[in-house]
Amino acid sequence: MNTFDLSNSTGAGRPDVAGFFDPRTFSVQYVVSDPATGKCAIIDPVFDFDEKSGATATHHADELLAYIQEKGLEVEWVLDTHPHADHFSAARYLSDKTGAPTAIGEKVVEVQKLWKTIYHWPDFPADGSQWDRLFAEGDTFRIGELEARVMFSPGHTLASITYVIGDAAFVHDTLFQPDFGSARADFPGGDAHQLWRSIQAILALPDETRLFTGHDYMPEGREPQWESTVREQRDTNKHLVGGVTAEDYVAMRNERDSELPMPKLILHSLQVNTRGGRLPEPEANGKRYLKIPLDALEGAAWE
């Protein structure tokens, strides 16, 4: 299986984008680098977790670090597009290793409030203080000489953002590859109408913008893929083609979502990812425990 690909820069102000695929969670992690300065950002890194045994590992995060070292890059940012429901974020681990600041969308505070109640963490500060920076719509930052801009892209979660870096956009769980469609919108805080609007804003980027998605589920057993363009998505995405209206899309999305079971790590992941990629504090015996609330999530199809 192809789990790595490098999408080369085509000129000044345009990044090299290295994609790393995790077959276990179908997630794509990125190292986005400025060829001119060697500065880079890490986007959506995965902290490995085996839910059967409760074991954690850093194989994937270490693979990113090895690439960064081999290419002689310097990490300026460790970014997440949203609090993921299907894997643990390695942002904290990578920030500790590299000294680079972490960031996520500012609406993560609302997600924290939601899950603070579900997990019953009365003392948890739901204020985003677990990250170094919280991004709002239109915020800009730099990676070396690359200009980066933030688009607020809610729908899959109420905190999702898209990072537009030069001619590349990291759209995570909005659009998937054209042959798979788009992300579900039925998690707590999700909304199919909002997702539609977020997708339209992405499709309004220049046609040749390189789009990098957050997951690939390898339909029909094909090799994993994660790069497309705005033009390709508009012309061929199976959830968008054929004059689909907002109403059509929302109806399709809600119907499809009603048949999907919860992701197998949602209850595990959110308690790590709402803490910026930190595991829960140890109990008095020095051991850390995740919590699985019983019968707190209603409505999804049975697993």
Binding site: E51, K52, S53, G54, Y119, L267, Y289, P293
Partner: protein, 288 residues
Amino acid sequence: MPHPIVTHFFDEPTNTFSYVVQDPDGKSCAILDSVLDFDYAAGRTDVRSADEIIAFVRDNGLEVEWILETHVHADHLSAAPYLHEMLGGKTGIGANITVVQDVFGKAFNAGTEFARDGSQFDRLFEEGDTFAIGNLEGRVLHTPGHTPACLTYVIGNAAFVGDTLFMPDYGTARCDFPGGDARTLFRSIQKVLALPGETRIFLCHDYKAPDREEYQHETSVAEQRAGNVHVHEGVSEEEFVRMRTERDATLDMPKLILPSVQVNMRAGQMPPAEDNGQVYLKVPVNKF
């Protein structure tokens, strides 16, 4: 030899067989190894499987005398408390449950509310103990190896072997959970195989097997002696231990081990709710 009426119930998501074992001369019965449905992803429980058993018991006018477990299961949650509430009957498990409670009580950092003395069950069985289901006599074999607390219930000409033997074409249970031991399992299996050849053997699980499309739940001592791929006649203890240990090293943990053991060590009761009224299971990180 009495011939109890045995009705099986299969839970495909966990490959588990539950049984209703009935006195052929009366209305008394026992329920063995029940399943509480659990959707781990959403953290949801349901009683669909248990309700099938309840419907069967009521439709046949049966009286539940016992709700039994062969062991503390690591792959499904027990529905014993729900069945007890709906149908009555006494709960029972092996006396070595206290060993399992001690190990997992520590692993899950259960508070002092969690007694490690087996008091959550009505009866703790030891090797050779007997009990009655109407006019049927049940007898207990201690058959550890898969876990320290595993029992085989011999009821008339039927033996409920839990996780010791599986179907002859599939073999035997794994021995790599905390407290498991391959040599101990081999010796336990010899006890089962020393029962009369025509003894009916009822399994706790079936996973099909290469070249077999149907799930099966019943075999006999004679069939196991002649054809079990892991422990047919002629396989030595050393050969078995080597095979079992090598094979176990290649197996993933069962998907539901962490949720299952913390509920089943409490006789199927959920952990106490936190002060918001919400019940939480715990997942120990990097403990197993």
